[in-house]
């Protein structure tokens, strides 16, 4: 196991692109602590897979260094780095049994027979695949196959980290829950560094202790699920995390208050220091928008109410601006509605970046 340090990594897919300043990965400088569970989250084309391939050794970055503990591994191959990887589509050896699949990496490393048998038996139990042990791997379901690919990494004691490349893509929703919770339990037992690439916010947030949100070749925020939810540092994070994403409303500064669609809103916390000329936006999550009787907040028109089972999503318009609110199942909606924003949950953005306010959060 190891701490993985990415030292000012930049990557372009060809020298010409680099010269033109066209980097797939603009600059990443970050350390993954030993034994942590991390997620790389972002839309396709944001550079998360490029970054994963740089960590695993399938790609050598154009600039910067990758270090495992204090060892520079920038130019080493995946096998020399002792990395295990679980791919989007399960990779199993069709002609082998489940047991042989798990024993394969150990046999290749000339581990003694008795030791192989002991570790494979142990792994079968942990993966809850005992009853499948002597079946050919090709007949199994997708989630069982994914467990085998994971098991082949876990069974080795020398693995520095396990990387996951959207591993739940081909798994049915019900099995996703089970597989994900088993994955978390395994992480706790083995305390191995795990890095999980996904575009699915729920997967990222539930799996990881720390989520690395990427956008357009850059890391825009690294934080715990709570930090990403409560204080998105970039409007993109607010939009990307949460369903529906954060409401981002253009506004103007007016002393200690902001003006949204003609309405003045006082800001909790200290005075915001924004550069003049910056594009100012107000961020508020739908979870913190309440739908109240006219008079109790900013007057708004309800356009549509979506019943999503456990709650309802209200799509409203505040002036010309679309605002979403999440409302509990049984709560009645007023005919003449107004929106009330929870003051502590308001975030202010200048040119898409969070404005840190003196005095902190109320």
């Amino acid at each position: 196991m190891a701490r993985i340090r990415l030292d000012h990594i930049r990557h372009a897919y060809s020298p010409e692109l680099a010269k033109a300043g066209n980097y797939a990965l603009r600059e990443v400088d970050h350390a993954f602590e030993d034994g942590g569970a991390y997620a790389l989250l972002g839309p396709s084309g944001c550079g998360k897979t490029t970054l994963l391939n740089i960590i695993s050794g399938l790609l050598t970055p154009s600039e910067g260094q990758v270090r495992f503990d204090d060892r520079d591994v920038t130019t080493l191959s995946p096998e020399a780095r002792n990395i295990a990887q679980v791919f989007q589509f399960p990779v199993i050896y069709d002609t082998m049994t489940v047991r042989e699949n798990l024993a394969f990496p150990l046999r290749n490393r000339k581990v003694p027979q008795a030791e192989i048998a002991r570790r494979v038996d142990d792994m079968l139990k942990r993966l809850r695949l005992e009853t499948r042990a002597d079946r050919k791997a090709r007949g199994l379901t997708a989630d069982e196959k994914q467990k085998i690919s994971l098991g082949r990494g876990l069974v080795r004691s020398d693995v520095n980290a396990i990387l996951f490349d959207e591993p739940l893509t081909v798994i049915d929703p019900h099995m996703k829950w089970q597989l994900r919770s088993e994955l978390k339990e395994l992480h706790r037992e083995f305390a191995m560094t795990m890095i999980y690439v996904t575009h699915d916010q729920t997967e990222a947030l539930t799996f990881a202790d720390k989520v690395v949100v990427m956008y357009d070749g850059e890391v825009v925020q690294i934080g715990t699920p709570e930090e990403l939810f409560e204080r998105p540092k970039h409007t993109f994070v607010g939009y990307f995390i949460g369903s529906p994403g954060m409401n981002v409303l253009p506004c103007e500064m007016d002393g200690d208050a902001v003006v949204v669609a003609g309405h003045r809103l006082a800001l909790a916390g200290g005075r915001a220091n924004t550069a003049s000329g910056a594009r100012i936006e107000l961020g508020i999550r739908p979870e913190f928008v309440r739908v109240v009787e006219r008079g109790g907040g900013l007057p708004a028109e309800i356009e549509k109410v979506e019943d999503v089972g456990s709650e309802r999503i209200v799509r409203a318009r505040l002036g010309g601006l679309p605002v979403s609110a999440i409302v509990a199942e049984g709560q009645p909606l007023p005919a003449d509605a107004a929106l009330a924003f929870e003051p502590g949950a308001l975030n202010l953005y200048a040119d898409s970046r969070l404005v840190e306010r003196t005095g902190g959060r109320a």
Binding site: I83, F87, Q88, P105, N108, K136, S149, R152
Partner: protein
């Protein structure tokens, strides 16, 4: 339950049925007809019953030719399949060299059988052929006209040269369809080159290999043109395969009855052996096929 069946489709199949009838079924029936009769020309026929079959199946000439065929096919498969796999593995997977290699591989396949025979016939001649002459110059006693072993070697080398690329192309098609993730996973698992071949490439090539083996078996079992052009079945009878014998009998000796009986037996043997090959290999690949359709 009421259902309106649309039978129009049969009209579209009709021309094909007629074509097959004229090109395959009717000639085959003629052969069956000949095989149970005796003729001395002039369109006079005498009923011979199963005489020709009994005679044929007991004849040493037939046995020898059959054994020659089997040995030949076995040698051809033993050389061309592993060689084909090796060449396919060695071929590049990306870049401009892919098309260069593919064209080079396809070249021998484009040359007609008799031309291949003629090329090698000249190539191997000891007086003017490059191969024959050089061999002689090197002090190796090589003469396919007189030495049975030299004749066999020549025919086999010729077939390998002509047909290995078919196996190569089929295997290559199987290889390029394997996703990169498999190779990456194998690297990460620390698999040796051999293990990658044994557990990833070979299983994934299974189905195309089946086709390659079947094609090469049937083709080599029916070999005719090359030995006919190069050795004419000699020296002696050493390269007289079933097909050559058949032609000798039918055209050379005008023994139409026995020749017809022989061609029927020949046909049945090919059918039977192909079926055996197919069943054995299909069973080996059965579960894999099931899995692939399930996904």
């Amino acid at each position: 339950m009421e259902k309106t069946w649309n039978n129009k489709a049969w009209f579209f199949v009709l021309p094909v049925l007629l074509l097959v009838a004229f090109s395959a079924v009717i000639p085959l029936m003629t052969v069956v007809n000949y095989s149970v009769q005796d003729t001395f020309g002039n369109n006079e026929f005498f009923w011979a019953g199963t005489d020709w079959f009994t005679e044929l199946l007991g004849s040493a000439r037939f046995h020898d030719a059959l054994i020659r065929n089997l040995v030949f096919s076995a040698i051809i498969l033993a050389i061309e399949v592993p060689l084909g796999i090796l060449v396919a593995l060695a071929m590049p997977k990306k870049g401009i060299w892919v098309s260069v290699c593919l064209v080079l591989m396809a070249l021998p396949l484009l040359i007609p059988w008799n031309v291949v025979g003629t090329i090698w016939q000249v190539f191997g001649r000891t007086d003017i052929g490059l191969l024959g002459y050089s061999m002689r110059a090197l002090g190796i006693d090589y003469n396919y006209v007189q030495d049975p072993i030299d004749a066999w070697v020549t025919v086999i080398v010729m077939d390998v040269w002509h047909w290995t690329s078919l196996v190569v192309l089929l295997c290559y098609a199987g290889l390029v369809s394997i996703p990169d993730a498999y190779y990456q996973a194998a690297k990460i698992d620390g698999a040796s080159r051999w293990a990658v071949f044994r557990y990833i490439q070979l299983p994934k090539m299974g189905r195309v290999l089946l086709i390659a083996v079947l094609l090469r078996f049937m083709d080599s079992f029916m070999i005719y043109t090359e030995p006919f052009v190069v050795t004419g079945g000699g020296p002696g009878n050493s390269t007289t395969f079933l097909s050559i014998d058949l032609v000798k009998m039918a055209v050379g000796q005008f023994d139409l009855g026995p020749a017809a009986a022989m061609s029927l037996v020949y046909f049945l043997i090919i059918l039977l052996l192909s079926w055996v090959f197919y069943t054995v290999m299909e069973n080996a690949g059965r579960d894999r096929a099931v899995k692939e359709t399930a996904e």
